[in-house]
């Protein structure tokens, strides 16, 4: 019997990884590469400041996504440029950080629909805490995006309450929200079914 806990894989537990870890991390090139680099430093224009948001269209349209776009730029872009996208550590979001989307007075969603959604959220919150930090991070940020969209649609509906297009979009956003909860809730939890 032992009480040594399994933690992150330790190279010493895996002989192959252990051997890889012993390999020299530094390898000197056969020739001095500096002259070639120095020659190119003059040509390379320096970036004075980090590049702007990846969502120029959203900002130009005046959508209230500015607050989330800054949050998004590092996490949701593939293979981020390390020079402008620092490898931030994912926030450790908890179940209480899950705030269901609020659809405003013009939504046309029934009380029943919202109650059903809220019941799903309860089960979702339980599962949420079992997910990796970066997954929880992506979920919280995307709920914020859905909230921003719902706010925008609601504001537009206030001006044009009869718009079928806008109502359809709101319902579409609501369905996306449900889909998100449902995918997580129905995913495998790996627990034993035997009692």
């Amino acid at each position: 019997m032992n009480t040594i806990p399994f933690g992150p894989r330790n190279p010493s537990e895996d002989p192959l990884l252990a051997k890889a870890a012993e390999l020299p991390k530094e390898v000197e090139p056969q020739r001095d590469l500096w002259p070639g680099i120095a020659a190119r430093l003059g040509e390379a224009p320096r970036r004075a400041e980090p590049r702007g948001s990846r969502w120029p269209m959203a900002l130009a349209a005046g959508v209230l996504v500015a607050s989330v776009s800054a949050l998004l730029t590092w996490s949701l872009v593939r293979a981020p440029d390390p020079a402008t996208q620092p490898q931030a550590v994912a926030t450790d979001y908890q179940a209480a950080d899950i705030v269901p989307v609020s659809y405003g007075p013009n939504s046309g969603l029934t009380a029943q629909e919202l109650v059903a959604r809220d019941e799903l959220v309860v089960r979702f919150r339980e599962k949420f805490t079992t997910l990796r930090p970066e997954t929880r991070d992506a979920i919280v940020k995307n709920l914020a995006i859905m909230q921003a969209a719902a706010d925008e649609i609601d504001a537009a509906l206030a001006k044009d309450p009869a718009s079928g297009m806008l109502k359809g979009m709101l319902v579409g956003t609501y369905k996306q929200e449900l889909q998100l909860y449902s995918t997580v809730v129905t995913s495998s939890d790996g627990t034993t079914r035997r009692t």
Binding site: L17, A21, K25, L33, I37, R47, A79, P82
Partner: protein, 189 residues
């Protein structure tokens, strides 16, 4: 041009060098180059399996780093930041038409690699493992290099490679199987 030779003050002077280099001091940048080229070239060499490509990519990495230095905020270590730039450069080259030729060459030739490094303490095993790594398909090789050799966590390696963490782990699993087969009697249990 002062070059850093005092190991005891490496960390402090490293930060000073970065500050000076980001203000345009090429001498300071050369000192940073000398400090870090071994790690950058080592990464490029193992990821590509070819010395010539690794040299080009190392140069590309430092030129790119020079351009982006004003944006380096010090959240990760300078060495890790350089490695991220290097990985991007390797992946970009792989996607290029020229790069696609190089990949097929690597796979065909298996362990053909110009390998320069400190002499191995144990002649047999580290060289065997270098060849085994070089013979892996690119996705699996990337993960063994980043996670196995350079010690990045799965999350860090996945982020650098632009893949999901699950994919990174699956690639490592694949790599273990292939390397075990190649190296014969290796037993991971």
């Amino acid at each position: 041009m002062p070059l850093v030779t005092n190991l005891a003050s490496d960390v402090e002077s490293g930060a000073e060098l970065v500050t000076r280099a980001s203000r345009g001091d090429e001498g300071a940048f050369e000192a940073l180059y000398r400090q870090h080229v071994g790690r950058v070239y080592g990464l490029c060499l193992r990821m590509t399996g070819q010395a010539e490509s690794a040299e080009d990519l190392t140069q590309d990495t430092f030129v790119s780093a020079w351009r982006s230095l004003p944006g380096y905020e010090g959240r990760s270590s300078f060495s890790t930041w350089l490695h991220r730039i290097a990985v991007n450069a390797v992946l970009a080259r792989r996607r290029s038409p020229q790069g696609r030729n190089e990949i097929s060459m690597t796979d065909d030739q298996g362990g053909q690699m110009d390998f320069e490094g400190e002499p191995a303490m144990d002649e047999a095993t580290p060289i065997d493992i270098e060849r085994a790594i070089a013979a892996l398909p690119p996705g699996a090789r990337d993960v063994v290099v980043l996670h196995g050799i350079y010690g990045y966590s799965h999350e860090e390696a996945a982020g650098m490679l632009g893949v999901a963490v699950g994919t990174c782990k699956a690639q490592l699993h694949r790599a273990r199987h292939l390397m075990r087969a190649r190296m014969g009697t290796e037993n991971a249990t």
